[in-house]
Symmetry: C2
Subunit: 179 residues, 2 copies
Amino acid sequence: MRVLGVDPGLTRCGVGVVEGVAGRPLTMIGVGVVRTPADAELSRRLLAVEQGIEAWLDEHRPEFVAVERVFSQHNVRTVMGTAQASAVAMLCAARRGIPVALHTPSEVKAAVTGSGRADKAQVGAMVTRLLRLAAPPKPADAADALALAICHIWRAPAQNRLQQAVALHTTHATKGRTA
Amino acid sequence: MRVLGVDPGLTRCGVGVVEGVAGRPLTMIGVGVVRTPADAELSRRLLAVEQGIEAWLDEHRPEFVAVERVFSQHNVRTVMGTAQASAVAMLCAARRGIPVALHTPSEVKAAVTGSGRADKAQVGAMVTRLLRLAAPPKPADAADALALAICHIWRAPAQNRLQQAVALHTTHATKGRTA
């Protein structure tokens, strides 16, 4: 199973691709950050995020996209941009019929460290260990994206297959309606 | 000048196209609502919003897109969906090099009624009068989308022309970087 994890953001959108199945060693396929200039217009920044995500989907062809679930109780100034960047990532996946899963930050932390309240350093350390990397991926957004992908792979495989079937079915139904 | 106004939302996304220039009678070209089912997955809903907005852009070829600026102090449960639907609308416009303007609800109300605190009925009544319609557009989201477009047309024309030039320039620059 190949999963693209996305830690959404306008300034830095973390992206990481992990391959593997639950109970077996995992492999990092790629990791990076899509950046957009803070002084650009919002619509141009969203376009740049789209182009970045599309490039990752083109190159790595993931079967699932796992996006961090955004909560509105976060920092009010940044949460809107995060919500909008996450919308772009979800949209790019949905257009290709790739199922999208949302995981909360505490679900992701609990998956890779055993504690939903782990700090960034602990998440980075576990991502490094689980993917057998030489050093923690930088910046933290990139490590978080990999943690999201790992979290997703470790979900119940049956649930993932069901979601994949539903997503493909819905894509065809939607296409039929708008044609 | 032809403007597509978008009142963003996942359940009901109001869309309205108005043509005209400041100081002259305005013409409504089209009005409607893009709806997505509340029980669908978020990524599929965003995809449906994109398909709806794309259809309106294809049919009406606006020179500007005016989107309501979303504030996080609104109802916390709905604001994330509104922010994400607005991201999709902005993205669709940016992909085509169409400049996007954001106007706050009070700017729009002040533009069409003279008061930033006007209620929905007052906005609907003024939209009906300004566009010489037989009855107020329903639902309110559709009337709000038309009000957004009117608000945009009444901005300083020089400012609009400048934004259009910048948007086109940026599109070409962005394309160059990613090619």
